[in-house]
């Protein structure tokens, strides 16, 4: 394996673009010091090489991964690309180089620095997406479900199958505010699209009634004698609370609405 050279790659931020960096690295027999996404600035004063995304080159690298190191490794790399690991690009490049060298057993080299760093990042991604399967809160307005999240990792692709399978007859939208993307679903069609700002509709009375019922349930179900805020926090870190109904703003609970809410009958379905 060649030594780390003092060149830095700059790519367009796409998965294909990153694969082209891998191609370049083999083509020029060099290992870049770092791989930068657009908008990232280098901390070192190395020469920056702009890598142009070329579909054909990307396709060749993509096809080689499952044959050289197995389909699991390809899934793993795709997941790694969605993580919030700093410098994930260079780690992915180094991982693929290891994979071309060692074959499928690269997935077993858990004690290797590169492999273990990526494994930790992917575990973080999967854990966060699993938590969000539970913590996402929909508001139902005009018969459409909308939710907002602020995850650290890019979790929408991992949430897609779960929610599409769960609500096949509904229309829903999950807005990832961190990455400026949204998962949109209408019966039997789905898409993940870039989205900048989104104004969610105001909740109606029925929605407010359900929120209030949920808060009542949430507050009632805890046993006072076992109060344990530390345990709650370790299972459900505070950064998720912002969009969870049970910790909603008190101004939603307008007192005059209280009586109407209580009388509201459940004839929505």
């Amino acid at each position: 394996m060649p030594d780390r050279s003092d060149v830095i790659y700059q790519y367009d931020g796409s998965f294909d673009g990153l694969l082209c960096c891998v191609f370049e690295s083999y083509d020029k027999k060099e290992i870049p010091a770092d791989v930068l996404a657009p908008g990232q600035h280098q901390a070192m004063l190395f020469a920056v090489k702009n890598i142009v995304t070329d579909e054909q080159r990307a396709g060749r690298v993509l096809a080689s991964i499952p044959t050289k190191m197995g389909g699991l490794a390809l899934d793993f790399v795709r997941h790694a690309f969605l993580t919030c690991l700093p410098q994930k690009e260079i780690y992915i490049l180094l991982f693929l180089r290891l994979g071309y060298q060692h074959g499928p057993c690269v997935m077993n080299m858990l004690a290797d620095d590169v492999v273990s760093t990526l494994f930790k990042a992917v575990t973080h991604l999967k854990r966060e997406s699993h938590l969000l399967k539970g913590f996402v809160r929909f508001s139902v307005v005009n018969n459409a479900l909308t939710a907002e999240i602020e995850p650290k990792n890019c979790v929408l692709p991992l949430l897609m199958d779960h929610f599409c399978d769960r609500y096949p007859e509904e229309s829903f939208l999950i807005h990832d505010k961190t990455h400026g993307m949204a998962l949109i679903y209408q019966p039997h069609r789905h898409a993940i699209i870039p989205i900048d700002a989104l104004q969610l509709p105001e909740p109606d009375e029925e929605e407010l009634a359900f929120r209030q019922l949920w808060r009542l349930f949430y507050d009632t179900i805890a046993i006072e004698g076992r109060y344990n805020p530390k345990c709650r926090m370790s299972h459900m870190p505070k950064r998720y609370w912002k969009y969870m109904t049970e910790f909603g703003q008190p101004q939603e609970l307008i007192p005059k609405l209280g009586d109407q809410v209580k009388r509201l009958s459940f004839n929505i379905l």
């Binding site: 004690a111 009632t220 805890a222």
Partner: protein
């Protein structure tokens, strides 16, 4: 009374039920319906007491004809009563599920009129959900002891998991505190459910589309600390429940004083949370680590050591088996090492195929070296500079909290910031066996 008031009363009455898991079954949505189930289970929130909220946990009614001493819903207790109509409860479940508040429904009930009538009400809720709303989410339902087996059969075909609460760990305790229930009335439905699940798995082999009976299995729970039953007794009972009734889970709930009775601990008694925690640790050892109850406790040591967890306690008492070489020993042996859990043991197995592991490598795999270092070698070598003085070993095996507790309870004379407490031989044996 409206739904808001009912939910307040019936969630409050249900909160002492422990199980809130939604695990054990994978299912996709039915056509035109809503909901799926994920085998790993999903937690939707965590309450202020740190317990997971996965299911809408409510009682159908808290009006109960029984008078169990330990229960908030006992007949003689002066408390507001409420009853959901099946339609109200089904609508509430769907409204919550649609907003992703919950994974499904956990339905229990006080005994209204008689066990059969109560069970019919439960069946009606489940029927509405499954048939009218085509709901495929998770449903956990309590079997009411004493109900007709034909009704239990219908209930089981609609639910994912069923449970019968064993309530108290011995027949004597049951006789004393729950005079309306008997060992027979609890174990009969448990046995029936077990047989149906077993029958059903053979049916499915024969007919692919045979309806599934409680596909996520059955569980139970018992109250800890309301009666003088020892950990030894409880753990043996737990083990036999797993073996004889093929239960998926046994839950423990530390007794919260809810009633003043000469038969029960005083109202100001603190719930035995640490004891409950130790029992859960031991329960994990039974289910995932290949331990037997008789290895953890015996006639002479009837209760768990409060200072050290059951696995560490076992390891210190079996030093003749250690150190083990992580590059050689089997998976089952790895699981016996303190600081190595199921995940890290599997990772060790994977990683050592590509080369031998050193202590640095183990750290990357997530092994807790602070504990494990005293019990392992890597390719024949111990960790350099390892201090194996028994007192040091013991301290490393305790969490900071346990160590703090130990210093206060076992060594009041040595509460100094500057002095490391020295453990004498007596302290050590006290620590290893625990106060009786």
């Amino acid at each position: 009374m409206d739904v808001f008031d009912k939910l307040g009363i019936l969630a409050d009455a249900a909160k002492y039920d422990v199980a809130c898991t939604s695990s054990g079954v994978d299912r996709n949505t039915t056509a035109g319906g809503m909901g799926n189930a994920v085998a790993a289970g999903i937690c939707h929130s965590f309450a202020a007491d740190g317990r997971c909220i996965s299911l809408l946990k409510v009682l159908m009614t808290n009006a109960c004809v029984y008078d169990c001493q330990y229960c908030v819903n006992r007949r003689s207790n002066d408390t507001p009563r409420a009853t959901f109509t099946p339609r109200e409860l089904a609508d509430l479940t769907i409204g919550f599920y649609r907003r992703n508040y919950i994974e499904g429904l956990f339905l229990s009930s006080g005994v209204l009129k008689n066990p059969d009538y109560t069970t019919e009400q439960l069946i009606e809720v489940l029927r509405l959900l499954r048939e009218e709303y085509r709901f495929s989410g998770y449903i956990h339902v309590k079997a009411i002891p004493g109900a007709d087996s034909g009704l239990l059969a219908r209930l089981g075909l609609l639910a994912d998991r069923m449970s019968v609460n064993i309530e108290l760990p011995s027949e004597n305790s049951l006789l004393l505190l729950a005079p309306d229930k008997s060992k027979q009335s609890i174990f009969a439905p448990m046995g029936y459910i077990k047989d149906r699940i077993h029958e059903n798995t053979t049916d499915i082999v024969k007919y692919q589309h045979a309806p599934k009976f409680a596909p996520a299995g059955q569980s139970t729970q018992m109250i800890i600390g309301a009666t003088p039953d020892t950990d030894f007794k409880i753990l043996n009972l737990t083990e036999s429940l797993y073996k004889r009734y093929s239960l998926k889970r046994v839950f423990f709930s530390a007794y919260m004083p809810v009633a003043k009775s000469s038969l029960l601990p005083a109202l100001d008694t603190k719930p035995p949370l640490l004891r409950e925690h130790r029992l859960y640790q031991a329960d994990w050892l039974l289910r995932f680590y290949g331990f037997r109850a008789s290895e953890l406790l015996d006639e002479e040591h009837q209760n768990f050591n409060p200072f050290v967890d059951p696995k560490c306690n076992w390891a210190i008492n079996h030093m003749e088996l250690f150190p083990m070489d992580v590059n050689r020993v089997s998976y089952d042996d790895l699981l016996r090492v303190p600081g190595i859990g199921v995940t890290s043991a599997k990772r060790i197995l994977t990683a050592r195929r590509t080369g031998s592991l050193g202590f640095d490598g183990l750290k990357k795999l997530g092994v807790v070296l602070k504990r494990a270092q005293y019990f392992i070698t890597c390719s024949g070598k111990a960790r350099p500079g390892l201090n194996t003085t028994r007192s040091i070993v013991l301290q490393s095996l305790m969490s900071p909290k346990e160590l703090g507790m130990y210093r206060i309870e076992a060594q009041p004379a040595q509460l100094s910031i500057f002095e490391q407490p020295l453990l004498t031989q007596e302290d050590l044996s006290l620590c290893l066996t625990g106060p009786m």
